[in-house]
Symmetry: C2
Subunit: 518 residues, 2 copies
C-alpha cells in the first residue's frame, strides 16, 4: 500500500492528522471535497478540513478535543495557537446520553463451555501460590509438566503457576489483601482454567483463610490416593508446605494432584458458541505517536464489533483515561455508572497525591511537538480503544465482570498489573496495542499484540500478531478493526498468538498492590 | 538432651521464662542459687528469680522490658498484673552509651575475592531484568544454563535471573524508582555475582538510563563476536529487546554473552580470607513463641561473633524493631546514628498512617496469653537477633553497606522484600530464623535457616539447616550461637544450604516498593 498523507479518525471530525509533513498548497481529499493546506503542517499535527469559527468545537476521534480560540480557515494548521480546552472536573451528573446499541452481529467461535456457564478460550491447569513463600514450589510443580510431559494430553494447553511477590506482610482484610484475593480467586475461577490447585506456606497472614471465608473458595483436603478433580463440585485442592512437611513433599503431592487432573481436563472439548461469550480486555503498552491514530482507533472498531456481538469489552488504565473521562461520562448508561467512573478518578487523584504526585495527562513538550494539543486529545488517543458504544458499568480492580457491552475496570496503566486485573475479572482475550514494541503475554489468556506502525511490526514480527500501521498506508481504521475482530475469533477458537508460541506469560501475572508492605 | 524447665536469656536478667508449665514450689536453679516458684507459671511466661521492688526495672534479654508495678517476690509470676512499660517516643538524643567492642575473633573462610576488594561466598552469573517486560526473556536465558549446561564449569554456582514486577508505570526518579534502582545495582555489583548482563525492553521509563546516570553503571554495547567480560573494567553488557528485534533474538544474544562469560567466571578460585569479610543479614520469618527465646537470641550470639571477627551484621525489619528502638538508640555509636534510626521509625509511622494503619507492636491477645507482657519485650524478641554490640550505622533500603560491625537497614518485615534489601546492600550470608517453618532461599546469597523448635525442625528437616530448639533442651543460647557461627563459616566456604540444594531463590528476590503503580 502507498503511504497516505493524512488520516481522518471519524467522518464527523473537522480536523485530520497529517501523516508526513505537508507543504502549503497540499491537496487533501476529504469526504468528496478537496481542501488545500494553508500552512506547512508538521507530521502528526492537525489541519482543519472545514472553516471553524472562534468558539466553535474542534472534533477529532468524533469527540470534542477543545474549542477554537480564533477563526480557523479550511486548510489551516490547528494547534495551541488556535485551540484550547479547559479540563473541567465533573462532580454532578444529572443525566447521560448513551448511544444507541450497534446493529447486532451474529458470529461464533469454538470455546470451552465451563460448568459455570462461562466460556474459555484455553484449557489450562493452574498452580496458584497464595503467598510468595510458596512461589518456588508452585513454579517447580508447573515445570514438571513442560516438554513432553503433556504429550498424552493434547487438549491441555499447559500447566502454569500463578505466583506473585506478596501475600504476607500486610494488614488482614485491608484493601491490599482484598485486591490480591480478588486476583487469586479470579485466576482460580477463570474460564480458561479448567482446574487448579492452591499452594500456601501455612503461616501467611490469613491469605488462604480469607479466600475461603470472604471469597467462597471451598478447600478440598483429600485423603491420600483420592482423586482431586472438579467433579467434586467447586472444591479446590489446597496444600500448605508446613502441613506437607516442606518443599519436596509439597511438590511431589501437588504433582500427583495435577497428574490426576490431567485426564479429566484433557477430556474437555471445544464447541461452537456465540461471540457474545467473548470478554476482551483492551490494553496499550509502549505507545508512540501512532498509537492514537492507528492501533487504538482500530481496536475501538473491534471493540464496537465485540459489543455488537453481545460480548464484553473492558477499557482499563484509569490513569490514562483521565482527561477524557467526560466523554465516557456522556456515554454512560446512567448517572450512577458515570458517577462510579468519576469516583475512581477522584480516588486516583487522592492516591497519587499522597505521594506528592499528580494525575497529569497534559501533553508533554514531546507530545506537543508531535502535534497533541490538549489533554482531552491525548487521553482520547488511549480511550479510542473503547470504540463508540455506551459505557455499561465500572468495576473495581479484579472484580468479576458479568456485564455485557463496554465496561471500565479500574487499573493502573502499567501493563502487567492492568492486564492481570482484567484477566482476573474473567477476560478470555486481550488486545494489546504497542508502538515501541512490547513482547507482553499473560497466561491463561491469549494476548493479541497489535503494532501501531509498520517499521516496528517488521522489526519485531516474531512478537507482533497484527499490523495497524496499514492505517497510514491506505487501510481505514474500520478495515483494520474488522481484521482484529476476525483475529479475535480465530485466536479464541485456538489459534496461538505470538506470545503463546514464545512461551511468554509466566512472569507477567502481577496483582496490583495498593497500600504498604509491612 | 532433656527438656529444661526454663530459660534465662541473659545472666543479668531478674526474670526467666518457663518452657513448660511450672507448678508452685518448682525449684529453679539460677546462677548457683535455688528459687522456688510461688505461683503456677504457664509455659512461655516469666518468673522472677530475685525480689523486685515496686518501680524497679525488670530485665529480660539483658534489657529493661518495663518496671514492676508492685513488689514482686522471687519465684513469683511476672506479667501484666505486676509489670508495665510506657513506650516513649524519643525525639532528642543528647548522648549514647555504646558498649565496648567485643574481644577480637580471628577466623577465616574460603571466599572469592573480587576486583572491588569485596569477597563473595558464591560465584554466580546474573541475568538482570530492568523491567518486568523483560522478565520472561531473562528467565529463559537463565534456564538455558540449567541441568548439564554447566558441567564444564564446576566453579560456577549457576546462572540466575533477577526479575521483578515493576520497572515502569512509576514516576521518574521517585522514591519507588530509586529503591528499585538500588536493588538492581546491588545485584549487579554483588560480591556473589561474578558477572552479569542487563536486559530491558527499551521503552520503560528510564529504568536503564537512570542506572547509568545516577548509579554509575557503565553499559557495554559490544559488537558481535567480541567477548563481554568483567575484564573490561566495570562495564556491563546491556541488551534491550526493542533494539535486538524481539524475544527470541534477545534470548539468543544474551545466551551467547553468558556462554562467553562462563570460562572467565569459572576461572575464579576461592582463597582464604578473614571472617571480617562476612556481611550477614539477619531475618526472622514465620515466628512462633520460641523465636524470641531460642533462635533469635542464638543468632544474636552469632551476630556478636561476626562483629568480633570484624564483619558486618545487618539487623532489618524496621516495623518489628519499633518498640525496642530505645535500646538500639542507647547502643548507638553516636547521637547521629541514633537519630537516623528514629527518623526511619518516624517515617514508617507516617507511611502506614497514610493508609489508616498503625505501627503497633503491642502484644496481641495471643502474645499475652503466650506470656509476652510489653511492647518492648515483644520487639526485643526480634531485636535479639542483633546481639549486644554497638549500633554503628543506619542504612536506607538496599543502600550499599560498607560499615563493619552491627548496622540497621530499613526494610519491611516481609521476608523476601527485607532480605532482598540486605542482599542488594551486599550481604553475602543470610541467617533466617523460623518457628512455623519458612522454606525461604534467595539467590545469590545462601540463607541458613534456623528452626526455633525441635518439633518443626524434625518435621521440615529437608528445609532446615540448624535447630535452635535445643535451647529448651539444655543447650545455652551461646552454644547454639557458636554452632551458627561455625555453620556460617562452612557455608561461606562453599557448603550448600538446604534451600540451595532445593533450588529455591529464583522467585524470592523482591524489591520493596513504596509509592504508587501508575
Ligand atoms: Ca507473577
Ligand atoms: Ca503526564
Ligand atoms: Ca498500559
Ligand atoms: Ca523477583
Ligand atoms: Ca521477616
Amino acid at each position: 500500500m502507498n503511504k497516505v498523507s493524512f488520516v481522518q479518525l471519524s467522518p464527523s471530525d473537522n480536523v485530520v492528522v497529517a501523516i508526513s509533513e505537508l507543504a502549503p498548497g497540499h491537496i487533501l481529499e476529504v469526504g468528496g471535497e478537496s481542501v488545500a493546506t494553508v500552512n506547512r503542517i508538521p507530521a502528526g499535527h492537525k489541519v482543519a478540513v472545514r472553516a471553524i469559527k472562534q468558539g466553535e468545537a474542534v472534533y477529532k476521534f468524533g469527540s470534542q478535543i477543545g474549542s477554537a480560540t480564533a477563526d480557523i480557515a479550511a486548510g489551516e494548521h490547528v494547534h495551541s495557537h488556535n485551540l484550547q480546552h479547559k479540563h473541567d472536573v465533573i462532580t454532578e451528573v444529572p443525566s447521560t446520553d448513551p448511544p444507541a446499541a450497534p446493529a447486532k452481529l451474529e458470529r461464533t467461535f469454538e470455546g470451552y463451555v465451563r460448568p459455570s456457564g462461562r466460556v474459555g478460550t484455553r484449557n489450562y491447569i493452574a498452580v496458584i501460590s497464595t503467598v510468595n513463600c510458596s512461589a518456588s514450589v508452585s513454579q517447580f510443580v508447573a515445570r514438571r509438566f513442560e516438554g513432553d510431559a503433556l504429550a498424552d494430553y493434547p487438549n491441555v494447553d499447559g500447566v502454569f503457576a500463578v505466583t506473585h511477590e506478596t501475600g504476607c506482610g500486610m494488614g488482614y482484610a485491608t484493601l491490599r489483601h482484598e485486591m490480591l484475593s480478588r486476583v487469586l480467586v479470579g485466576a482460580a475461577r477463570h474460564p480458561n482454567v479448567a482446574a487448579c490447585v492452591l499452594i500456601g506456606l501455612g503461616c501467611e497472614q490469613g491469605s488462604m483463610g480469607y479466600l475461603f471465608e470472604k471469597h467462597g473458595i471451598v478447600p478440598l483436603h483429600a485423603p491420600d490416593g483420592e482423586k482431586l478433580t472438579r467433579d467434586k463440585g467447586d472444591a479446590i485442592p489446597v496444600l500448605t508446605m508446613q502441613d506437607e512437611g516442606g518443599t519436596r513433599k509439597t511438590i511431589e503431592r501437588a504433582v500427583q494432584i495435577v497428574k490426576d487432573l490431567l485426564p479429566v481436563v484433557n477430556a474437555n472439548r471445544r464447541e461452537t458458541v456465540s461471540a457474545s461469550e467473548l470478554s476482551v480486555g483492551l490494553e496499550c503498552g509502549g505507545s508512540d505517536g501512532y498509537s492514537g491514530i492507528t492501533a487504538n482507533p482500530a481496536v475501538g472498531c473491534a471493540a464496537d464489533r465485540i459489543v455488537a456481538s453481545g460480548g464484553t469489552a473492558m477499557l482499563a488504565e484509569t490513569s490514562e483515561i483521565y482527561g477524557a473521562e467526560h466523554l465516557l461520562v456522556q456515554r454512560s448508561r446512567s448517572p450512577e455508572v458515570a458517577l462510579a467512573l468519576i469516583e475512581r478518578i477522584e480516588w486516583w487523584k487522592e492516591y497519587v497525591g499522597m505521594f506528592g504526585l499528580e494525575l497529569d495527562n497534559n501533553p508533554s513538550v514531546g507530545n506537543k511537538a508531535g502535534g497533541l494539543t490538549t489533554i482531552a486529545e491525548k487521553s482520547l488517543g488511549a480511550v479510542a480503544k473503547a470504540g463508540s458504544t455506551a459505557l455499561e458499568a465500572v468495576y473495581q480492580y479484579a472484580e468479576q465482570v458479568h456485564q455485557r457491552g463496554l465496561v471500565v475496570m479500574d487499573t493502573p496503566g502499567f501493563d502487567p498489573a492492568s492486564v492481570t486485573g482484567m484477566v482476573a475479572g474473567g477476560a478470555n482475550m486481550i488486545l494489546f496495542t504497542t508502538g515501541r514494541g512490547s513482547c507482553f503475554g499473560c497466561k491463561p489468556t491469549p494476548s493479541i499484540k497489535i503494532a501501531t506502525n509498520t517499521a516496528m511490526y517488521d522489526r519485531m514480527i516474531e512478537d507482533m500478531d497484527l499490523n495497524a500501521g496499514t492505517v497510514v498506508e491506505g487501510s481505514t481504521v474500520d478495515q483494520v478493526g474488522e481484521e482484529i475482530y476476525n483475529k479475535i475469533l480465530a485466536v479464541a477458537s485456538g489459534e496461538k498468538t505470538k506470545s503463546e508460541l514464545a512461551g511468554i506469560g509466566d512472569y507477567e501475572f502481577i496483582p496490583w498492590t495498593v497500600g504498604p508492605t509491612l
